[in-house]
Amino acid sequence: MERSGRCVDALRPRLNPFRTERLDSLAYCSPETGRPLELAPLVDCFDALGRRAAVIGPEGSGKTTLLDALAPRLVARGLEVRRLRAAPGGGVLRGAEALDDPGPETVLFVDGLDRLPGAARRRVRRAARSAGGLLVTAHRPLRTLRVGRLGRLGTLTECATTPALLAALVARLSGASTPAAAPLPSAEDLHARHGGNLRTALLELYDLYAGR
């Protein structure tokens, strides 16, 4: 990722190219090419799976980003998408009210199923009976988790990251600028040190640009 570009002084947070709002607006990209992925095949696959499926992948691999990208596609098809997620570190379910009386046109997005406590998972299972669809994320295949019938959900996709993907995202976010504090690490080094977690890798770059 080393590039010759203009070196900038410590950036204010509102100008930092790796600030949260920019990371949250990244498109879901192919790990092979680093380019935004065409999502129509995934939506079709979700339909083929009876609109009940799981997105599997390690931390920072893009699972939430993919859900963010799929939601408007389903809404465009006339569906209601209700989103809920496990709190960071597990435990309390955020958006639990979304589980109240879902109808056949409602698709439940449960982000972080494997981080939910048993009672919350049972609540998800009950709500899923009447909902028109269910898409969950987890860090490992559901059949390896104690999630009851939810373990039978098919896998919509497995999210993965590569140094090439990280390099593409960094280029997209940072443009031609380089931080003053230190040269940019290579994508390979950054990817390896963060175990493929794109979010923490990009936040390291936030810190570099912020002069932290």
């Binding site: 950036l11 204010r12 949260t20 920019r22 031609a176 810190d207 002069g211």
Partner: protein, 156 residues
């Protein structure tokens, strides 16, 4: 032609707490869905590392919005928070207009502080001030910068 714009009186973008902020919003949405409602808001929000926070300090509903329209607005700026940047977070002030349906919107960022300039909490950020003032609102977020340019407040 479709547009939504905010114009601040005298082109000012820097203010002190307690001052009046006045301007106009104008739009041409004649090619889209009819405008059902329009609201101008004085807002602040955070940008940086971690969760985002925001607040709507004041809002004016614009009665009977037309597809092509121009309306005046006026807000009195509160005592705080100030426009400030540390290492982890910036507090940013803005005027925004939101038109429904479709949440069509425009936003213009301003500075609110006792000095009329953003407050920087770290000395290594000081060098940016002059450069940003020169660059102005270039809107070049995520785009390749030309020599001598710098990230400006711009639009994101």
């Amino acid at each position: 032609m479709t547009f939504i714009e905010i114009e601040l009186d005298d082109g000012r973008t820097s203010f002190r707490p307690g001052e009046e902020l006045a301007g106009s919003v104008l739009w041409d949405l004649s090619e889209g869905e009819p405008v059902a409602s329009a609201e101008v808001r004085l807002v602040w929000f955070t940008r940086g590392r971690g969760d985002r926070d925001s607040g709507i300090v004041a809002a004016e509903e614009l009665a009977g919005p037309q597809a092509v329209d121009r309306r005046l607005f006026r807000f009195t700026l509160p005592a705080g928070p100030y426009s400030v940047s540390g290492k982890l977070v910036s507090i940013v002030w803005a005027v925004e207009v939101v038109l429904e349906p479709g949440s069509r919107a425009a936003r213009t960022e301003i500075v609110v502080s006792p000095t009329g300039r953003e407050i920087l909490l770290h000395s290594d950020q000081a060098a940016e001030v002059a450069e940003v003032a020169e660059a102005g609102e270039s809107g070049k977020v995520g785009e390749e910068l030309a020599e001598g340019e710098f990230w400006g407040p711009g639009k994101t």
